[in-house]
Symmetry: C2
Subunit: 354 residues, 2 copies
């Protein structure tokens, strides 16, 4: 007793107009071989009858899904959600749907999600790797099927894929050097997992800046963690209770940096006079904390847009180019958390998207 709302097909239209389904199909797709009148008549009737193309059937025939898959750690992180926003923007304009899935920073989940998306026959995949991903076999099926893969931000250089990244080394170097220019001599670093490129590179950039300026690299001052607020807090306490505490902290993300500011203040340490702080990402919290946090602006939306464009591009340039890496510009945003002297350039204009 179910109402089987039968959907209108091209056959129904064809019958009504006494033409063939082929003609209808062509007319609907503006095929040049069909006369104006016929085409218009078909389209008109199609609308009247409430026809909607069955994209599944079409997809079966053309072997297309019009879907791009995205795997990220957590959707609800400022950087990631902006990344996705950019992806959606470009994909939609090109007629593609975006299927999102989150790995929760778990390697196992990333594998599962990759398989699911592969089974769903996405026509491209954009990935920001999970924290502990160290092998990449789960992407092989894509490779074998010539499905474009683009790594974003957290990438692996072991795999030859398109990549969209920033120069983490340079950015970290710049931030650290800025602290040095502010007169800091003993700069600590909140580092992330070293097997993930971005954190390794940031640490390397930090170390390089120290060396360039003949400052000692003190392992005691490099703290590895997941860079959460809690860890930022704990790390700050530890550092500040050292017999010879640092006069600055460069954190590999903003969360931990903000915590550092809060913790230091609670301990009665003045920022930036006694402790200068710099972060990474330019999350919204970085401009809200007091004093505002010096940080690296991470062009999240653009990275998403470009990643999506790479996918679309790869679909055209079949086997023309082996792989391409796009490196986006970052910018040091100087705010008060690091402005210890008058030599500092004024704070960069600080655009807030609400």
């Amino acid at each position: 007793m179910k109402k089987k709302k039968k959907e209108v097909t091209i056959y129904d239209i064809a019958e009504e107009l006494n033409v063939s389904a082929t003609t209808v199909s062509r007319a609907l797709n503006d095929h040049f071989s069909i006369g104006k009148k016929t085409t218009q008549a078909v389209k008109k009737l199609a609308k009247e009858m409430g026809y909607r193309p069955n994209i599944i059937a079409s997809g079966l025939r053309k072997n297309k899904t019009n879907a791009i898959g995205v795997i990220v750690s957590w959707i609800n992180r400022p950087f990631i959600s902006s990344l996705i926003s950019g992806i959606e923007d470009v994909a939609d304009k090109a007629g593609y749907n975006v299927i999102i899935s989150q790995s929760n920073d778990s390697f196992e989940k990333e594998i599962t999600k990759a398989q699911t998306l592969y089974a769903s026959r996405v026509e491209g995949l954009i990935v920001s790797l999970a924290m502990d991903t160290k092998s990449y076999n789960h992407f092989y099926p894509y490779r074998q099927n010539n499905i474009p893969i683009v790594f974003v931000d957290r990438v692996s250089f072991e795999m030859e894929t398109d990549k969209v990244i920033i120069n983490n080394f340079d950015a970290a170097f710049t931030a650290t050097e800025h602290l040095i220019e502010m007169g800091c001599k003993r700069i600590a670093h909140f580092a992330g997992a070293q097997h993930r490129n971005i954190y390794k590179e940031r640490q390397d950039g930090y170390i390089h800046a120290l060396k360039k300026h003949n400052l000692p690299v003190d392992e005691q001052l490099i703290l590895h963690s997941n860079l959460s607020m809690e860890e930022g807090w704990k790390g700050t306490r530890r550092l500040l209770s050292l017999s010879h505490p640092p006069d600055a902290i460069f954190s590999a993300n903003d969360s931990a940096a903000v915590s550092a500011i809060q913790c230091a203040k609670e301990m009665g340490i003045r920022i930036p006079e006694e402790l200068a702080v710099a972060g990474f990402n330019n999350d919204r919290i970085s401009s809200i904390v007091e004093p505002p946090l010096t940080t690296i602006n991470h062009p999240a939306i653009d990275m998403g847009k470009i990643a999506a464009q790479q996918v679309l591009k790869q679909k055209k340039n079949r086997e023309m180019v082996e792989s391409e890496t796009v490196i986006l510009k970052t910018e040091l945003i100087i705010r008060q958390s690091s402005m210890r002297n008058r030599l500092a350039k004024g704070p960069t204009s600080d655009s807030e998207s609400c």
Copy 2:
């Protein structure tokens, strides 16, 4: 000269094993009628041959896409991205893909996206309405096709659909009453567009609290805007330069509230002594600003999870229930921006997800 990597089909497997495609199909789906040995043999060979089910063909046959569509204003907003995170979590566990699209708070875009998703044959739709959406015809096709629609947060009561919301009226009432209990007598309100339920309800709750406590409702103190940081800033300046300025602001979101705090401080106004502030959403910035912002906790992730569950549920209960509205609990988080006296309860425990 293209390498046409022919994909393995059930026919290939069937041929190899000298059985019929039917048997293979059934075996792969664990149909009871197929013998253990056969089933196992089929599965084993399938794996060996690198078979992957063609979900498009299957979908065509079963008329399924396993996709749920989501339309939101902007993905990169704290509340929204958490919402999506919740949706993805539940949908994935149920074997559904989540297709996201953003309306950018534009009515026209919302229409387009709704049509696109409809054409993509999503099996359910979750929507948080655009700011200026006032008519709902673009959802009619879903309705006619019995495709579940669930409205979240920004909903319309004109349409009979499932809804997942919070009690904005009560939450706003509670927040306002809290300010009153703190001794505030002249409370301003940063309000949003009044045709969008959530902002209307928040304003109503605010007004109701004033009335209950015999405080006058001064239209001068109710400022309508898009609740951006800029507007929060401007509104605060305006309010504080009034001949009879308010002693508190209740803002319909955290962005504007945070701006209010910053602006007031810059003007030399002490928070909360001279101006108490409360916001709405419990975004991360609310706990970072100084003094920390009293606000309403908005269970974003749970709202997403429940919305997804509603979609799945509706797919089962065909025409059993007309529609269902789930109202989630909110919580007043009292922080220092409103603690003007010792009567205040201590701040609620403040969980931070990093």
